[in-house]
Subunit: 259 residues, 2 copies
């Protein structure tokens, strides 16, 4: 497939490489940022353009990897209308495909459920690809495209994709943050954060293999109020984290009482 | 070493096996629960006892794996005083070794920084073992003992161990809970929780290799208020989780503004 990538962030960096590796032709990478557009373009053997007026008119797919807020604006700045056979899609979790409806007939989403950083190597093969299209034509085409880079391709509509994205924020962004706060506590205690690595790994292995509810341990799960009280006292000079500790402990209790 | 284990929960289950495998002699496993004491005793080729009066008087070490709240009470119910060469230790994160001070001269902690479930196989070798003793004698003896089951043995005093335990609650128990809540969201959306596995794994690999602060992504980190607002609306019928979402997002912002 002949593809133009719009955007040059973490998603473009990884998805461009995966599409190239799968044999697709990445023709152009567009971004107003010259440095990053060049870097991503080099990575997927494409041309870098910084002016959207230079976008070629005959790509099969225009893939928007820009930030959620920019999707609609960038798509509307494309200086031509897409033809009957052309497609446009975005890679965002929480944006309806309808923001692309004015650009042409076939629009959709091509959402990889993963956290991307440029410095991390990633194999796309196991990444769930969530596909949604404005019609059967694009849904089929995007499904075939997704299958060339991943073995886990799913039809997920706008509303469900948003729920998945919300769950991903909890299970990825908020998890990372709790570990960041635990690293602050360790640093203040003069302990290297590496001490937590085996615990964190086992926590995740257990959570994935047993399900999180079954894998839950700790003072809140056991109702060990003495430990909870002692931890809250230790956090007395960090009121924000103390509040989080209280709320998460009470939330654990609520979830397990419910079950 | 000749060891009596008091308690028959998850920690006894794993630590007993590890000590046996390292060549130690687990003589008895004491617990008022006949079923679990028998199960743990069988696992580490020991005798199960349900009456503390039957505790042998000549073990080198009495290892308390009971719940935090029970440590002091169980230690005080030992029907004899420990001799000059005998030792007693607990495996708890947040309990001072001083609760054991009345039982004999040498008391300490033998704290494995890990989450234990009976149904999970675990290799002890990489588990950080935190050792603290009332004097050099027990500190040295417990260090040698810990080295027979783990390659990561550390001298960690009461206060530091409590900070480590607090950080572990954040990085393990609270992480598990956030994943549990994300699984609830997925279940309500009709999506199998397995869709999150690659994301969760990559989150953790990235967090461990880069440090959590560096690995942070997501709407709160980017300041993407439109997505945050949309997620909060989606959580309007789950006020507790909505409150958590708000607080965690604001906490991410605060931590990154501070750095």
């Amino acid at each position: 497939m002949k593809i133009c990538i719009l955007g040059s962030g973490n998603v473009a960096h990884h998805i461009g490489k995966a599409l190239l590796k799968a044999g697709h032709n990445i023709v152009q990478v567009y971004s107003r940022n010259k440095v990053t557009s060049k870097a991503v373009a080099k990575r997927c053997k494409a041309n870098a353009i910084v002016d959207i007026q230079e976008l070629i008119t005959n790509a099969d797919l225009y893939l928007l990897t820009v930030s959620d807020d920019a999707i609609e604006k960038v798509s509307k700045s494309i200086p031509f209308s897409l033809s009957q056979k052309q497609m446009i899609a975005h890679t965002a979790g929480s944006v309806s495909i309808e923001v692309l409806s004015s650009t042409g007939e076939h629009y959709g989403s091509f959402y990889p459920l993963q956290t991307f950083s440029k410095s991390r190597r990633l194999s796309f093969n196991k990444i769930p690809m969530c596909i949604h299209g404005s019609d059967d034509y694009i849904a089929k085409k995007m499904t075939s495209l997704a299958k060339t880079i991943s073995s886990d391709v799913r039809q997920i509509d706008d509303e469900t994709r948003k729920e998945i994205h919300l769950s991903a924020v909890l299970a990825c962004n908020f998890v990372t943050h709790l570990i960041a706060e635990s690293e602050v506590i360790l640093a203040d205690a003069g302990v290297d954060k590496s001490i937590l690595a085996p615990l964190i790994q086992e926590t995740i292995f257990k959570t994935i293999s047993q399900g999180a509810s079954e894998a839950q341990t700790g003072p809140a799960r056991r109702g060990d109020n003495k430990v909870i009280k002692s931890h809250l006292e230790m956090l007395s000079d960090r009121p924000a984290i103390q509040k989080l500790y209280k709320q998460l402990s009470s939330s654990i209790k609520t979830l397990h009482d419910r079950q």
